[in-house]
């Protein structure tokens, strides 16, 4: 095991800490996250760690649940983006030629759209208000960036000696692609995954912020933040607690990505 640098350590601790809370939120929250039992706009206290919102719901419980939703959407989004993106990137990078040209130009075209706009278009085609639609839309938006990263890596490794010798030994293309080259692209792929995750968290937040993510009364960090903004002066703790949670989540994973990149000796 290589040495864990400071970035990686801090990132892992922070993310681990948050993950514990998120997992906890799936099984237990101090209050029912949709129950409107308490007084409205209570300031943070020992009873309500983050205070209550405009319906008298416990914000801490909602943040726990909402972070889970956001985390889930982000993981699923990155999974879709990474699998499809790696597939496209690997094939185009390895084989090159006309397929490469065509797919990469499509890729360029997709990248040219602002990603949120593209996701909005996809959502309006799929119909709003369903959680998996958000995942599909965001996943599709994340394909191009992964494809580009992996294509570069695969193209670079196409003609290195161990690939040549594997080919001389009669290894099939798919074996070369997935067994020989893929593991060696991990130093590029892993940081891309963490950056992708962060972008997905922020994208989910922006989508819900625009009112097309989750359906109320379900919570997600983005949706809560959009609710909170109209109450900034009345209940600043609402925006602060949700906003800080997003920042911590993104920050922690961002540190991991930075740490991974430094460990592999490629500081960007």
């Amino acid at each position: 095991m290589k040495h864990l640098n400071g970035y990686l350590k801090t990132g892992l601790i922070l993310t681990g800490f948050l993950t514990v809370f998120i997992v906890l939120g799936f099984f237990w929250t101090p209050y029912d996250p949709t129950a409107m039992d308490a007084k409205k706009f209570l300031a943070p206290s020992l009873q309500h760690l983050m205070g209550t919102d405009n319906f008298g719901r416990d914000i801490f419980s909602r943040v726990l649940k909402g972070a889970g939703t956001t985390f889930g959407i982000a993981v699923a989004t990155v999974a879709i983006g990474a699998v499809l993106g790696t597939l496209v990137g690997a094939l185009t990078g390895f084989f090159g030629g006309i397929v490469d040209d065509v797919l990469m130009r499509i890729n360029d075209a997709l990248t040219a759209f602002p990603s949120i706009l593209l996701a909005l278009v996809i959502i309006s085609l799929l119909g709003p208000g369903k959680k998996y639609n958000v995942v599909l839309a965001l996943g599709a938006v994340f394909v191009p960036s992964f494809a580009r990263v992996t294509r570069t890596a695969f193209a670079g490794l196409r003609d290195v000696n161990y690939v040549k010798s594997a080919r001389l030994m009669g290894a099939s293309n798919s074996r070369i692609l997935w067994v020989h080259i893929l593991p060696n692209t991990m130093n590029v792929l892993l940081p891309a995954l963490t950056i992708g995750f962060n972008n997905a968290v922020l994208a989910e937040a922006s989508m819900s912020y625009l009112g097309i993510g989750v359906t109320p009364p379900d919570a997600s960090l983005g949706y809560m933040l959009s609710e909170a903004q109209s109450m900034l002066t009345r209940a600043p703790w609402y925006a602060l607690s949700t906003g800080l949670t997003i920042i911590l989540l993104v920050f922690g994973v961002g540190l991991i990505g930075e740490g991974l990149q430094r460990r592999s000796g490629e500081v960007s």
Binding site: N198, T233, Q261
Partner: protein
């Protein structure tokens, strides 16, 4: 990566800046200048229709503004009555088929011309489609003939007797054969149109030759600000003086410079139930939901206590038909709701969906509270957000929904506009309400010309809706208007208008 961290830090500090509040500039200077010039700036949340032609306009938000520019033969008052405007008086023939209007002397259009009988004939004929085209105003398609008896008298004949006809005579009177109504409207109202910049503003000025009480303000600018937060900031910064239809949260941020006037939106907000689909085809289930819902609770939780509870499809501003005893016909009673559900065969409750148009936050908020209240009696409700277009197509026209939270308004100031929609044969009876008694009452009401007797019939119809628990009635939303201190005289109407003719700066 570094860039991203930096961006996050910047975001954090920005948030800090917002929370601590920015300096408030010279708001007072700006508003004092306006006060001295006797000008008012009004914020509105949406752009006006492309065409400003009053016979073509569809959006309530446009009618609300143009109410200040146009008048009909009759004009609604803030108490819900009709008073003569362009007309001075009218008589109805004994067979209730011919209305003879005497025009008021010396009423002028904004272009300086005097209103003549031919202008009235032109306007009514245009709306009724008598010149061969489609009727522009559906309600006026009952007009079969309109003619000028002399310079100051117009006779209008309708196909069959109608109690509501006179209320349709609020339709704007326009100068004959003037063809630029859509961009440079000309009417007879207390304010005249000056200019319009699409998506930005519309400017009105005092009309000096107005026949009635002159208005106080010299100039009114309606500023279009679509973003809810920008609206609040514009009020705070002094860019606008008056803004209607605000939420209690927005009001809360305004501070001491404003008075808040509370009117009603004149909507019937309810959880409308599709009476034709299970389990809502069972009256006991519908009644159970009525008992399960705590109206005051909805108002307290989602609307800071603002709003007026209702018990049927009549809103309080319709004083003539509003029956207060219906509000608490189903008092909040969880036990009663549970036992009714058990009786109907749902001892453990059921699951249902609430369709809500995603562009109406008050309805979404209401639905969220309803979900909680229904859970207390074992009913698991799930909110389905749909776009407005989808809602109209699927729920309203297609009647493909279980329940939906929306507000229904009246297209004109008649009980018929609110109640006819639930007669079984009516094309837009989207809740599939089917009550033979209700239909019979409506037939009788249509055939009754005595106002008092007709009012009783309409009231009986409203009570029928309550007793059969047609819908879970909730409230008429509060219409909160922020008015800068020093500005006074705003009146509320039982219809959706913003009348500025009485608004003035206090000395």
């Amino acid at each position: 990566m570094k860039k991203k961290l930096l961006a996050i830090l910047l975001l954090g500090s920005l948030l800090g800046a917002v929370l601590t509040g920015c300096g408030d500039g010279s708001a007072e200077q700006v508003t004092e200048d306006r006060s001295a010039a006797n000008e008012l700036v009004v914020g509105i949340a949406q752009d006006l229709d492309n065409s400003l032609d009053p016979h073509v306009v569809v959006a309530a938000g446009t009618k609300e503004v143009m109410f200040n520019v146009f008048e009909g033969l009759m004009k609604p008052t803030s108490t819900g009555d009709l008073i003569p405007a362009v007309a001075e008086d009218y008589t109805v023939s004994d067979d209730h088929l011919t209305y003879t209007f005497t025009l008021r002397e010396g009423v002028k259009f904004h272009n300086g011309d005097t209103v003549a009988a031919e202008d009235v004939v032109y306007s009514i004929a245009r709306c009724a489609g008598l010149n061969g085209s489609e009727p522009l105003v559906e309600a006026l398609s009952v007009v079969t003939d309109v003619k000028a008896v002399d310079e100051r008298t117009v006779a209008i004949t309708i196909a069959e007797p109608s109690n509501e006809f006179i209320s349709y005579m609020t339709t704007a009177i326009l100068p004959a054969d003037y063809d630029r109504q859509d961009t440079a409207p000309v009417g007879t109202g207390p304010f005249k149109f000056v200019s319009r910049a699409a998506q930005d503003n519309i400017v009105l000025e005092k009309f000096d030759e107005y026949w009635g009480t002159p208005v106080y303000l010299d100039k009114v600018t309606f500023k279009i600000i679509e973003n809810a937060d920008s609206l609040v900031m514009s009020l705070q910064s002094g860019a606008i003086d008056l803004c209607a239809h605000l939420t209690s949260t927005q009001i809360d941020q305004l501070g001491d410079d404003f008075n808040v006037a509370e009117g009603t939106m004149n909507l019937v907000q309810a959880m409308y139930l599709n009476n034709a689909v299970a389990p809502f085809d069972d009256i006991r289930v519908r009644q159970a939901l009525c008992y399960a819902v705590d109206k005051q609770g909805v108002l307290d939780i989602a609307f800071d206590g603002y709003g007026s509870p209702i018990g049927t499809s009549i809103y309080p501003a319709f004083g003539k038909y509003f029956d207060e005893s219906l509000i608490d016909y189903y008092p909040h009673n969880v036990e009663k709701a549970k036992s009714l559900l058990a009786e109907a065969g749902y001892p453990d409750g059921f699951t249902m969906s609430i369709t809500v148009p995603s562009n109406y936050q008050p309805h979404i908020d209401t639905a969220q509270v309803l979900v909680e209240q229904l859970r207390a009696v074992g009913v698991e409700a799930k909110i389905e957000l749909v776009e407005w277009g989808t809602w109209v197509e699927e729920a309203y026209v297609g009647r493909n929904f279980q329940s939906t939270v929306v507000g229904v308004d009246a297209s004109n100031m008649t009980a018929r506009a609110l109640l006819e929609r639930f007669t079984s044969a009516y094309g837009k009876n989207f809740i599939n309400y089917n009550s033979a008694e209700y239909d019979a009452l409506f037939e009788q009401a249509l055939a009754t010309y005595d106002d008092a007797a007709q009012t009783e019939l309409y009231k009986a119809m409203a009570a029928d809706l309550t007793k059969n628990a047609a819908n879970v009635y909730i409230q008429d939303l509060a219409d909160l208007v922020a008015v800068r201190k020093g500005v006074e005289g705003l009146n509320f109407y039982p219809i959706y208008v913003l009348d500025l003719s009485t608004v003035r700066y206090a000395d």
